[in-house]
């Protein structure tokens, strides 16, 4: 480990960290935007869920590098290629999360909301989504951490991120660069993960904030695989 390399290359480190954050966070958020309506639709019309789930589990099985390459003729060696591919993976992770979240809303709660005169839309926004939120955020955490880590594979098709340090360090036989690149990817992913945990606590103040309570209630939901077909 050559510590002096870090300050000498501070500007590049900063720029590539931002690039990695962009390539990792954008797909998770776009994936969320797409999977929310689809997930809600799947929980409302149950027949829709089986085909959607099969499609997402097939798509999720495609290795990231292969998916990047399938997209190259259409979007080139650009950020867009990586973002589209990672958005698709995020989508595969998030759809089951949204559906499980919507299913975690107890029926009596739904009926109470209806009895109080809530229309479908208002019940969705004010009752169902807030209750589903912890499960949805659990899915979002998995999607975001995976995207940040997978974005580095984009370096193999020349899309820059912290993965640049991994490849460059390998080609120059200079481990310091790899430690910095891989280390920052892990730190970035864990920071984003913590931010999402914080966001969940902020948005669901009625739930116990302590981690013991959290693992008890959330644990069954974030099956960290998008393919819950087996159930």
């Amino acid at each position: 480990m050559m510590w002096s390399w870090i300050p000498q290359n501070a500007a590049q480190i900063r720029q590539l960290t931002l690039e990695s954050a962009y390539l990792g966070i954008a797909p998770a958020l776009i994936g969320l935007l797409i999977s929310l309506p689809l997930g809600i639709a799947c929980s409302r019309w149950r027949w829709l869920y089986a085909p959607v789930l099969s499609a997402t589990s097939v798509l999720y099985a495609v290795p990231s590098l292969a998916l990047f390459i399938v997209l190259i003729p259409y979007t080139g060696l650009t950020d867009t290629t990586v973002i589209i591919a990672l958005t698709l993976f995020s989508f595969c992770i998030l759809v089951p999360g949204v559906v499980d979240g919507m299913r975690s809303v107890p029926d009596p709660v739904r009926q109470a909301a209806t009895a109080m005169g809530f229309g479908t839309l208002r019940r969705l926004v004010q009752v169902e989504l807030p209750i589903a939120l912890p499960v949805v955020i659990a899915g979002l955490r998995v999607a975001m951490v995976s995207s940040i880590s997978l974005a580095s594979v984009g370096q193999l098709i020349g899309v820059s991120s912290l993965g640049y340090f991994i490849i460059d360090g390998y080609q120059r036989d200079f481990p310091t660069e790899i430690y910095v690149g891989a280390g920052l990817i892990i730190v970035l992913a864990l920071v984003c993960d913590l931010l999402l945990v914080g966001l969940r606590r902020l948005l669901t103040p009625w739930r116990p904030g302590r981690s013991s309570g959290e693992t008890k209630t959330v644990a069954p939901a974030p099956v960290p695989t998008p393919m819950v077909v087996a159930r």
């Binding site: 589990s57 097939v58 999720y60 099985a61 495609v62 290795p63 990231s64 590098l65 292969a66 998916l67 390459i69 399938v70 997209l71 190259i72 003729p73 259409y74 955490r141 998995v142 951490v145 995976s146 940040i148 880590s149 997978l150 580095s152 594979v153 370096q155 193999l156 098709i157 912290l162 993965g163 991994i166 490849i167 360090g169 390998y170 036989d173 481990p175 790899i178 430690y179 690149g181 891989a182 990817i185 892990i186 992913a189 864990l190 993960d193 693992t215 644990a219 069954p220 974030p222 099956v223 960290p224 695989t225 393919m227 819950v228 077909v229 087996a230 159930r231």
Partner: protein, 225 residues
């Protein structure tokens, strides 16, 4: 030109189908690496997952570690081990195994821990020893999730094996990495197409495994609910 026309123009050339760098050999290589890695990962993760699910000890740690595990960049792990050890079996096998373990472990744990407590009580009430409870009740009931874990582990293994071509591993990833280096998009696309087909075939295989491995009683139950 679309992805498929690039891939097709490459794979229709007869020389791609023969010799030590031909497509059949590469497919077998990829399957061999993946099967070995999945086997090692399963031998570690399945007993550990059953143990944690059965005793309930270390459950919180498993779920949290498995989440954090995803943050590890595949490429970084491959490249570092290669620099440390030189290119050897360990340099590619360790990353493949390490990345597959959490997916298997979490699902096996969740499957065993999720067994209905009444079933456990019944098994104990019938006089089963802890080992019999695990073998005759908990593992069969957890089988859908155990197979799911293996299937997810297989996804990670196949994906990582493809990337491992960068550090010199054979298999279908070779076409992608070599093609990129030579600016031969046809080869890259052909390789990617076979990687996708292989990944889908592995998924189909696990759908079959599930059909065989999951006890009939559970399947019937799943259908009626």
């Amino acid at each position: 030109m679309s992805f498929f026309s690039y891939a097709w123009s490459w794979l229709k050339q007869p020389q791609q189908w023969h010799g030590p760098e031909g497509i059949p050999v590469r497919i077998l290589e990829q399957l061999g690496y993946s099967a070995l890695a999945l086997l090692v990962a399963a031998l570690i993760a399945i007993p550990l997952g059953i143990l944690i699910g059965h005793t309930g000890r270390g459950a919180v740690a498993v779920v949290n570690v498995a989440n954090a595990w995803r943050a590890i960049p595949t490429l970084g792990l491959l490249v570092l081990l290669t620099l440390w050890l030189g290119f050897s079996v360990l340099a590619w096998l360790v990353p493949l195994v390490v990345l597959a373990i959490p997916a298997i472990l979490v699902n096996v744990y969740e499957g065993v821990a999720g067994v209905d407590p009444e079933l456990r009580d019944a098994a104990r009430g019938m006089g089963m020893t802890p080992w019999q409870q695990i073998r005759k009740v908990e593992v069969p009931v957890a089988m859908p999730l155990i197979v799911l874990g293996l299937r997810t582990g297989a996804i990670f293994v196949v994906a990582t094996a493809t990337i491992a071509a960068y550090i010199g591993l054979g298999g279908l990833g070779r076409y992608i990495i070599d093609g990129l280096a030579e600016n031969n998009y046809g080869e890259v696309a052909g390789g990617a197409l076979f990687v996708v087909l292989l990944a889908l075939a592995v998924q189909a295989l696990f759908v079959g495994v599930r059909r065989v491995a999951v006890p009939k009683g559970l399947r019937l139950q799943g259908r009626s609910s």
